[in-house]
């Protein structure tokens, strides 16, 4: 199967700062072809110098990124991107200000070539608390925050530090376990940083599960293909998104010496993730020596094949 394109949904109420974030990501992307689906070209404000061409529903940027108008059908616009021969590396969907981002994220799983990466919800540090108490939109604002794998606080540069702290505390109380970042922390438009852990040796499943349960709140997403000591004849697939994770054996059997390597990739919010803490988390997972019984088993298996 061809590689799936990861899709990130950017949600948040009207005026929260979604387009500002998208504009920055588009302008500053390097070595990654982003495709951004927006509701209204009028609101994106791409520097004319960066635009290489424009045709109808698409603006092409010199850095290889594209910005497409959703028009009246998000699904069609998204499938059109998925089926382009020269598709993007990553798709970002700007959800409408009144959308439930969780519902929009279903579109990220509506095509064989797409895979949901994460839901990021932007909240305006200055107004989000008032919005959350508004009789017309309070429930919606809370629903959007609750759907987030990561919450990006915008306009933190214009509110004072005390307000900023108070908003963070409020969100952490309202949405227990929320992963928070301030947009001005995001370096060079890199919203996410990745950290890769690799091992040539099978991993201890119990230790890995314990590590997953204790991952720092700034890890938005983690994925991995690993070999576990408890199931050495097959790969196990690790998925971690928001506050949910799974570690399940793959159905296909693999040869004992074939593709031994375990790889886990963690994605965190730039500027907020504590890499040292993350490393510490995985330190107990990566084995220093193989149990003798397993070495035997591998040898026997290797002889059999």
């Amino acid at each position: 199967m061809t590689r799936q394109i990861p899709v990130t949904v950017i949600g948040g109420y009207l005026g929260a700062g979604k387009t500002t974030l998208l504009n920055r990501l588009l302008a500053e992307a390097q070595n990654v072809k982003l495709a951004v689906l927006v509701n209204d070209f009028g609101s994106v404000n791409i520097d004319a110098a960066l635009i290489s061409s424009r045709d109808g529903e698409t603006i092409n940027l010199a850095n290889g990124c594209v910005c497409c108008s959703i028009g009246d059908n998000l699904g069609l616009a998204l499938h059109d991107l998925a089926e382009r021969p020269d598709g993007p590396d990553r798709i970002l969907i700007e959800a409408s200000g009144v959308a439930d981002p969780a519902k929009i994220s279903h579109y990220a799983e509506s095509h064989p070539r797409l895979a949901l990466d994460s839901i990021v919800v932007v909240a305006d540090a200055e107004t989000v608390r008032a919005r959350a108490d508004d009789k017309y939109v309070g429930d919606l604002v809370r629903l959007q925050l609750a759907a987030a794998d990561a919450i990006v606080l915008s306009r933190t540069d214009i509110v004072d530090a005390e307000t900023c702290r108070a908003v963070r505390t409020w969100i952490e109380t309202e949405i227990p376990g929320a992963r928070l970042a301030a947009s001005h922390d995001l370096d060079h438009g890199q919203m996410f940083v990745t950290r890769t852990f690799e091992s040539e040796l099978p991993l201890d499943g119990a230790a890995l599960r314990a590590a997953l349960a204790a991952l720092p709140a700034d890890v938005v997403r983690a994925k991995g293909i690993v070999r576990l000591i408890e199931a050495p004849d097959r790969h196990s697939v690790l998925q971690f998104a928001g506050r949910r994770w799974s570690l399940e054996p793959d159905t296909a059997e693999v040869g004992p010496l074939e593709r031994n390597r375990s790889v886990i990739v963690c994605i965190g919010l730039a500027g907020s993730i504590d890499l040292a803490r993350l490393d510490a988390c995985f330190a107990g997972v990566l084995p220093s020596a193989l149990p003798a019984a397993l070495i035997d088993e591998l040898h026997q298996g290797a002889l059999r094949s």
Binding site: D72, L76, H79, K103, Y107, Y136, D139
Partner: protein, 549 residues
């Protein structure tokens, strides 16, 4: 040079005019009413041809469907109707509802056996398991009994769900689709039920691409008008989602409706639904002003504030939906509405606002109040579509701001029991679609079908407003029943008023257009419960006769 005069005779002509109530003859010249009275009165205009075809019938002003969607015509053109509700098709034939899966499978087999190309998908619409007896899902197991090889796609009445067979699941590669709306059985295999567009999309694209819209197929316009005409409508509103601002779509619409035998007038709202910003909305609406023809006109701009009540997406005031206390979804942000509504109002447009539940209506009223404070306008006739949960205080604010409404009276019949049990509970269901209170307070109200949501049938809608009876026979909110006269006025003059056309249509009066509906019996004389069963003999549009059957 004026054309010849035709005098139509009738057993009784109900004029719905404020001053003159009844007549027996109406003289028509060049599509316009010349005289209303007896034969001698009509003769005062000189020689005429007497048309006695309807001498034993009742002539009323042409019925007006004040809110419907062109999609209905597209569905008739592209798919087979297989739903549980009785519907008349564009041929004027009653398609009896299929109210259980066995009947559905039989009907689909019949359709399938007549299809010649074995690869052509079988596409149906209108199914609704919630109205079936027994209530049972429609899965691939049922549909595979029709065909295992021909793709089958059934769009549900809600338009939010589809049922497909195994062939469609294969063609569209559902094995690789993880969207949560793809329902699965215990073994993880898709059941064939697809909930919401994200789950339906690959199937739609693979086997039912015609449903995606933007089609310029001429048949959709004809079917849309014809289905309504066969049930007595002479004017039908296309309620806002169509893309008349697209030159190709506009020329298809103009060409289709210009045909002399086009059976009804279409009044289309400008699109404020899929056009994102106020500037484009206003530009497109202004560009379409006066662009129509005798049977196609553009009026008002449609915006949508919330979702649907039966889909739990209408925006409610507290305490929210029955039991859960949850609320629905906004279609546009309230903060946007506070600038969009004044912008459209300032541009001189008439705003037609879809507000299903009461918080959406409250929001619209608040936005119009802002607009009126900034720039007072008289006689703008902004109106609310659906307004199902309007109450006296909202209606009084509407009166003070000049906002009117077309109510979704059909809901009580089709979904009254559902609302009582699942969405609103007893009190709010009894208070739904308060036509009597609205009329008493001076709100000009009409009622509508919202086809394809419920069947376009103005007499049925009139009957619903007058009787407020559910399909199960329960009367909801008897105080909100209106007299047959008021109900008829809702479906004629009031609807014309909402469309800024009461000087042209909506009553039988000298100088107005000769648009009439011909009924077998007098709707004001029969028992009000019998109104929906009055046979429609046909319609007259601009003096031209269109038979019903």
């Amino acid at each position: 040079m004026p054309g010849p005069i035709t005098v139509f005779s009738a057993k009784k002509i109900i004029t719905m005019d404020a001053s003159v109530e009844e007549a027996t003859h109406v003289a028509v010249r060049d599509g316009i009413i010349l005289e209303v009275g007896n034969l001698d009165d009509c003769g005062a205009w000189g020689p005429y041809t007497l048309d006695n075809r309807f001498a034993d019938s009742i002539l009323i002003p042409g019925l007006i469907e004040s809110h419907a969607h062109l999609l209905d015509g597209l569905l008739w053109a592209k798919a087979h109707y297989v739903g549980p509700i009785d519907r008349y098709d564009p041929a004027g034939t009653l398609q009896k509802g299929l109210t259980n899966n066995a009947a559905l499978v039989n009907r689909l087999r019949e359709i399938e056996s007549r299809m010649t190309d074995p690869t052509k998908p079988l596409v149906g619409w209108g199914v609704d398991p919630s109205l079936n007896d027994p209530i049972a899902p429609i899965t691939r197991l049922e549909l595979d009994q029709v065909s295992k090889t021909r793709p089958i796609f059934l769009l549900h009445a809600s338009c939010h769900v589809a049922s497909v067979n195994s062939a469609t699941l294969d063609v569209a590669n559902y094995a690789a689709i993880k969207a949560p709306g793809v329902l699965r059985d215990a073994s993880g295999a898709p059941t064939g039920e697809l909930r919401e567009m994200a789950a339906m999309l690959v199937a739609v694209r693979a086997v039912a691409a015609d449903m995606i819209g933007g089609s310029t197929d001429a048949a959709q316009f004809y079917n849309f008008a014809r289905v309504a005409q066969a049930r007595g409508a002479t004017t039908i509103v296309d309620g806002g989602g169509s893309t008349y601002f697209d030159p190709a779509f506009l020329s298809a619409a103009l060409a289709a409706t210009a045909a002399e035998d086009f059976p009804a007038r279409i009044v289309a709202h400008n699109n404020g639904i899929t056009v994102p910003g106020a500037d484009d909305m206003i530009r497109f609406a202004k560009a379409l002003e006066g662009k129509g023809n005798d049977k196609l006109a553009f009026q008002g701009i449609k915006i949508i504030l919330d979702g649907s009540n039966q889909g739990f997406t209408g925006r409610l005031r507290p305490p929210g939906y029955l039991g859960s206390g949850e609320n629905g979804l906004w279609n546009r942000a309230p903060d946007e509405l506070r600038t969009l509504v004044p912008a459209l109002h300032n541009a001189g447009l008439q705003i037609v606002a879809h507000c299903n539940a009461d918080q959406a209506a409250e929001m619209f009223i608040e936005a119009v109040a802002l607009a009126q404070a900034a720039k007072p306008r008289f006689d703008h006739r902004h109106f609310i579509v659906h307004g199902q949960l309007l109450d006296e205080s909202l209606l009084r604010r509407m009166v003070s701001l000049g906002i009117h409404a077309t109510l979704f009276s059909n809901h009580l019949y089709y979904w009254g029991e559902f609302h009582r049990a699942h969405t609103f509970g007893a009190f709010r269901t009894a208070a739904l679609n308060p036509a009597a209170t609205a009329l008493r307070l001076g709100v000009v109200v009409s009622a509508h079908s919202d086809t394809p949501v419920s069947p376009v049938d103005p007499l049925l809608t009139l009957w619903c407003a007058a009787n407020r009876v559910s399909a199960t026979g329960r009367v909801f909110g008897p105080r909100e029943r209106v007299s047959a006269y008021d109900a008829l006025k809702m479906m004629t003059f009031n609807a014309a008023y909402l469309l800024h056309r009461d000087h042209e249509i909506g009553s039988i009066r000298v100088g107005k257009r000769a648009d009439f509906t011909i009924l077998a019996r007098d709707p004001l004389a029969v028992d009000s419960m019998a109104i929906r069963d009055i046979p429609v003999h046909g319609t007259i549009v601009g003096g031209r006769v269109f038979a019903a059957g």
